[in-house]
């Protein structure tokens, strides 16, 4: 059990890292992109919109992180 916990901890630290909001933002952006794709938006529009979401959510994650460091 402690081995499984150790592997989970390692993978979490390795992939998700110090701020889970960054990883969550990427996943959320791709979900939005997939929804737009299935809604029939042209692929170039889907790609650019998804990329803009990734950037926007990364900025939001960092701003939230910096504000919380003071609390």
């Amino acid at each position: 059990m402690s081995l499984l916990r150790g592997v989970y901890r390692f993978l979490y630290d390795f992939i998700v890292g110090d701020d889970w909001k960054v990883a969550a933002g990427v996943v959320l952006s791709l979900v939005v992109g997939l929804m737009l794709l299935r809604a029939g938006l042209p692929s170039s529009g889907v790609i650019v919109t998804t990329a803009a979401f990734v950037v926007a959510l990364f900025v939001v994650a960092l701003v939230l992180d910096v504000r919380r460091r003071d609390d």
Partner: protein, 262 residues
């Protein structure tokens, strides 16, 4: 594979490997100088063997089991998240909101821990020196292996990625052997910043193209094809510079507001 991808692959892997190996070198040096070189080098060698096996198994599994478009999506997402984590740290450090990583401090801490630890011999080796060296090299090396496998597979050239990582390892070992002290003069944050930018750029490119794997199977295409990589890189550079300048102000404003409320 286009020239820019080979260039990006080589540069990203070399710089990332260089930074990680510098950190591993600090740990091995601390163990070698305080607990003895035999155990430190044995731990390093064992970690290299483990990393080689890890690379072979994970690389084979990903290349064999994942279709091309799914590989593009999975690898793109992993690289994007990984790159953004590096970029996040580099931005916070450049903005003065997170302390810079200092190899001299790390060396002092590792040396102090090594001197305080009890001596316990197993298999003819000082176990503390062996285990700490093994963990240091393995954990720093896994990040390099991850980049070599993911970037290499998606760019279609694992040997170039592996070669760049090995070259970085040789350079660090030579410099470390000559200097015999932690390589604290290496501009680690700048290098991590560069790697974060490039990983986030290629990760974003591949992850969004790979979205097609979830809806019909074929990859999507960026407007402008590979030229879009330059636009994405430019966007990440611009956003990161704005954050480096803006985040300290946001923090200051938030702090003043909090003080006024209380």
């Amino acid at each position: 594979m286009s020239d820019h991808t080979v260039w990006g692959l080589s540069v990203v892997t070399f710089i990332a490997a260089f930074v990680e190996f510098v950190e591993a070198l600090t740990i091995v040096l601390a163990m070698g100088l305080t607990r003895g070189w035999r155990s430190a080098l044995a731990g390093t060698a064992a970690a290299i063997v483990a990393l080689t096996a890890f690379t072979a198994v994970v690389g084979y599994a990903m290349a064999t089991w994942l279709p091309r478009s799914a590989l593009q999506l999975v690898v793109g997402v992993l690289l994007l998240i990984f790159g953004l984590q590096w970029l996040r740290k580099a931005i916070l450090r450049s903005a003065g909101l997170k302390p810079l990583h200092d190899e001299n401090d790390e060396f002092r801490e590792q040396s102090a821990a090594a001197r305080a630890a009890e001596r316990q011999n197993r298999l003819g080796l000082d176990w503390f020196g062996f285990v700490v060296s093994f963990k240091g090299v393995f954990l720093e090396g896994v990040e390099v292996v991850f980049i070599v496998i993911t970037f290499g597979l998606n760019a279609g050239n694992v040997p170039v990625a592996a070669g760049a990582a090995i070259a970085a390892g040789i350079v660090v070992v030579i410099i470390g052997a000559v200097a015999s002290r932690p390589l604290s003069a290496v501009p680690e944050n700048t290098l991590k910043y560069a790697v974060g930018l490039l990983l986030a750029t290629y990760g974003m490119f591949w992850a969004t193209e790979g979205l097609g794997a979830l809806d019909g199977g074929s990859s999507l295409a960026w407007p402008g094809g590979d030229w879009a990589l330059l636009i994405i890189l430019g966007a990440w550079i611009a956003v990161s510079r704005v954050l480096v300048i803006g985040l300290p102000r946001i923090r200051m404003t938030h702090r003043l507001q909090s003080e006024n409320i209380s």
